[in-house]
Amino acid sequence: MASTNSESLKSSLLEQIRNVVDFNGDKESALTQLHFPVKKQEEWKYSIPNFLADSYQLSSLQEVPVSSIPSGLPSDACKLVFVNGVFSSELSDKSLPSGLEVSFCPLNNSIKPFEENLFGKLNEASAEKQGIHLHVHKNASIEKSILLVHIIPSTGLSSWIQPSISIHLEANSSASFGEIWEGLPADHFVANAVNEIRLESGANLHWLHIQDGTSDGIIINQTRVACAANSLFRHIVLSTGSGFVRNNLDIHIEGSGAHADMFGLSLGNGSFHCDHHSFLHHAVPNTTSNQLYKGIYSGKSTGVFNGKILVDQIAQKTNAYQSGRNILLSPDAKVYAKPQLEIFADDVKCSHGATIGQLDEEPLFYLRSRGLDLATARLLLVRAFASEILMQINSDSLRAYAEEKAIRQLDEMTKS
């Protein structure tokens, strides 16, 4: 049962979308059936976004002047800038690497989400107007990292933004993307993002997602990926901040020989709430996947990991591995983990492991016996713990950028 409050929020958002987009009966009825999540729903059991504002300005469709993009971004990357979820050609790099095309185009929603929810449907409703499509041509090998930089300017109002981005890699192409949430406002906001990614056969995509903000915003990110034969997809997410983050990452492995890597590092401080929901679907024989999610939680932060591996009956010779490792640093930090296996094929190797604990005493003692104070020793160890994820980033400049953010956050966390 949705509360009246969230129902009125829903209708206010719909009205704002309706002002600029016509939508037909089908979409309308899908929207009426869905509601904002409640704790009773299994998929939202540990994570309910707390809508702080009475009303939100669906600002994604408004023009907001922004003069500059955040400093400190890697300089050797191609930047595509989104202001309030809307692509800004003025702020974006004018010359694109060869093999890459950017166009306006609604999401085609050809990859069915594991969890159909109101957030996704709301995004879909406005995507018609503001969806962006990135196309990588056949055999193109793009050297430069492509950054999708999301900016939400401060307006004094609570913004609700809805970026919709689809990415298509044609056969045997390769590219490296960075999805970066930077320059988030001090005001409360909701970012309701959807990415749809399709890899054709032999394509190779490296996706780094950095969610960093000190504001108390809500970020809902739903990324759906389809991988064709022999393609290689690597997803790395770094989540820090103090707001609420929910990431739904669905990967469908639909062609033999494809491989997916999923890595996550969550560094929680303050009242940060970070929920990684991954759904990995092995739909054909001879595919592999590897997942490693790590989290360090301090302050009153909460980490949630909900990972499901589904292996279809025909998907023989699947090799899937999933691991979640969490460290709790403070008495009020919490971790909820639900790693799941659903296996319908017998000739498979699937395993998962999850641990929740603290820094090992042994190395801590060792370092202290060599003269390091406790704080330094702890910092050293949490950095080492985090580096296993960060070292998976292939671009040197992006890795340096991510490391700097992680280290700053870890310093903050171990200080307290």
Binding site: L328, Q340, I343, F344
Partner: protein, 481 residues
């Protein structure tokens, strides 16, 4: 490959051995469930008013509840009005000696491998034999009474030990806990009660054997075990039912209470009729089992070997309230043909320095679905809690499914929680290695499955291990050396 499949079918497809029915005169209440049914059962057992009130309150609550939907099971709708809630073999009201038991009933239990004859009693095991809705005999009662151990049917306990029953019944599994626990609280007909007084180490295994005989009967038994400070008991539960085309419901509630430094070891070999190869018939086993480690340093261990029932919905759990208490769950769950199982445990860490260990081995064959579902919860004040869970699934054939749904909820930073799970099939290289030593593929599969489940089988008391081995179609280790 097809040969391997054939052999697997042969191994897993052996006939259900306990499918016979006993032809005995039975007093049966007409099918249907109402307040009158509850009153009838209570009256039949000469229960005191408080007990009837308790039942009626449970019934009223049950009517407002709905069956749980979260499990990974497809459960056909059950019409609770079609079930018979009371069926009892007609025999002399009070059996003073085991020799007075109806010979037909005695033969029934003998066929099940349980002797109720004074001379042939298994030494070291006291048995409470329950058929349909009533307990027909309890052995070694007087011998146990010398030590202050109470071991009797639940009906007798309500009559003779009302103070204990009123104190503990529903204290671990509240009536409102779930749909089936509420139903059980309203209509439970019998079951076993064990009470081990302070400092007593129960010298023999206590055991209850549950048998459903009458068609269309639901069995709703209630078991309560209380171990006072420093006491120990090992309790065994066995179950079988005749082969029938109709599904039958078994909705039991088991409650365990362990006081300071007490240890309760609860073992189950569940061999309910699982239905035929086409998935027709079989028992629906919807059971709520929970123990509470009330006192410091107490310990509760659940061991289960699940081979039977068409649908299993069962999560033997431990509430670790006392500081330094220990909870254990060892499980082998085998599903075959069209069986479905959703089983696991909950370990709720409340006290400090509590430890829990979960070992679950799922084996799926045929077209069955086998799910492990477990919760490890470390509450805010549960400093230094430790948990280790190992959940493995073995798939025999590619038409079945194996699923793992662990929930880890940690709200205390000093906790250490570790969960590991694997899914695999029997290695072809392992089978070939056995073949090369002259062992047939059929025996090799049995041997390997046995090895796979060994960690759990080792937890069973000797008397039960034998039955469990046979159930897994395996000759167990340890007979030599």
């Amino acid at each position: 490959m097809s040969k391997e499949t054939e052999i697997l079918e042969e191994i897993t497809g052996s006939e259900y051995k306990y499918g016979f029915t006993t032809d005995i005169e039975t007093e049966t209440l007409a099918a249907g469930l109402s307040e009158e049914t509850v009153k009838f059962i209570s009256a039949k057992k000469n229960e005191p008013a408080w007990m009837l009130e308790w039942r009626l309150a449970a019934f009223a609550l049950w009517k407002t509840m709905t069956p749980p939907q979260w499990q990974n099971l497809s459960i056909p709708e059950i019409n609770f009005q079609d079930i018979i809630y009371y069926a009892a073999p007609k025999q002399k009201k009070v059996v003073n000696s085991l020799d007075d038991i109806d010979p037909e009933l005695r033969r029934t239990f003998e066929k099940l491998g349980i002797s109720l004859t004074e001379q042939k009693l298994l030494s070291g095991v006291a048995v409470d034999a329950v058929i349909d809705s009533v307990s027909i005999a309890t052995t070694f009662k007087s011998k146990l009474a010398e030590l202050g151990v109470i071991f009797c049917s639940m009906s007798e306990a309500i009559e003779n030990h009302p103070e204990l029953i009123r104190k503990y019944l529903g204290s671990v599994v509240p009536v409102k806990d779930n749909y089936y626990s509420a139903l059980n609280s309203a209509v439970f007909s019998d079951g076993s009660f064990c009470f081990i007084p302070k400092g007593v180490r129960c010298p023999m295994e206590l055991s209850t054997y549950f048998r459903i005989n009458t068609a269309n009967t639901g069995q709703f038994e209630r078991t309560l075990i209380v171990c006072e400070d420093d006491a120990y008991v090992s309790y065994l539960e066995g179950c079988t039912a005749p082969t029938r085309d109709e599904n039958q419901l078994h909705a039991a509630v088991v409650e365990l209470v362990a006081m300071e430094n007490a240890h309760i070891k609860y073992s189950t070999v569940q061999n309910w009729y699982p239905g035929n190869k086409e998935g027709k018939g079989g028992i629906y086993n919807f059971v709520t089992k929970r123990g509470i480690c009330m006192g410091d340093k107490s310990r509760i261990s659940w061991t289960q070997v699940e081979t039977g029932s068409a649908i299993t919905w069962k999560y033997p759990s431990v509430i670790l309230k006392g500081n330094g208490s220990v909870g254990e769950f060892y499980s082998v769950a085998v599903t075959n043909n069209f069986q479905q199982a959703d089983t696991g445990t909950k370990m709720i860490h409340i006290g400090k320095d509590t430890r829990s260990r979960i070992v679950s081995k799922g084996i799926s064959a045929g077209k069955s679905q086998n799910s492990y579902r477990g919760l490890v919860q470390v509450m805010k004040r549960a400093d230094n809690a430790r948990n280790f869970s190992q959940c493995d699934s073995l798939l025999l054939g590619n038409l079945c499914g194996a699923h793992t749904f662990p929930y880890l909820e940690v709200e205390n930073p000093s906790a250490q929680v570790e969960h590991e799970a694997t899914t695999s099939k029997i290695g072809e290289d392992q089978i070939f290695y056995c073949n090369q030593r002259g062992i047939s593929t059929e025996d090799a599969v049995a041997l390997i499955v046995n090895g796979y489940a060994k960690e759990v089988l080792n937890q069973l008391p000797m008397e039960f291990a034998v039955e469990a081995q046979k159930l897994l179609a395996i000759s167990l280790e340890g007979s030599v050396g």
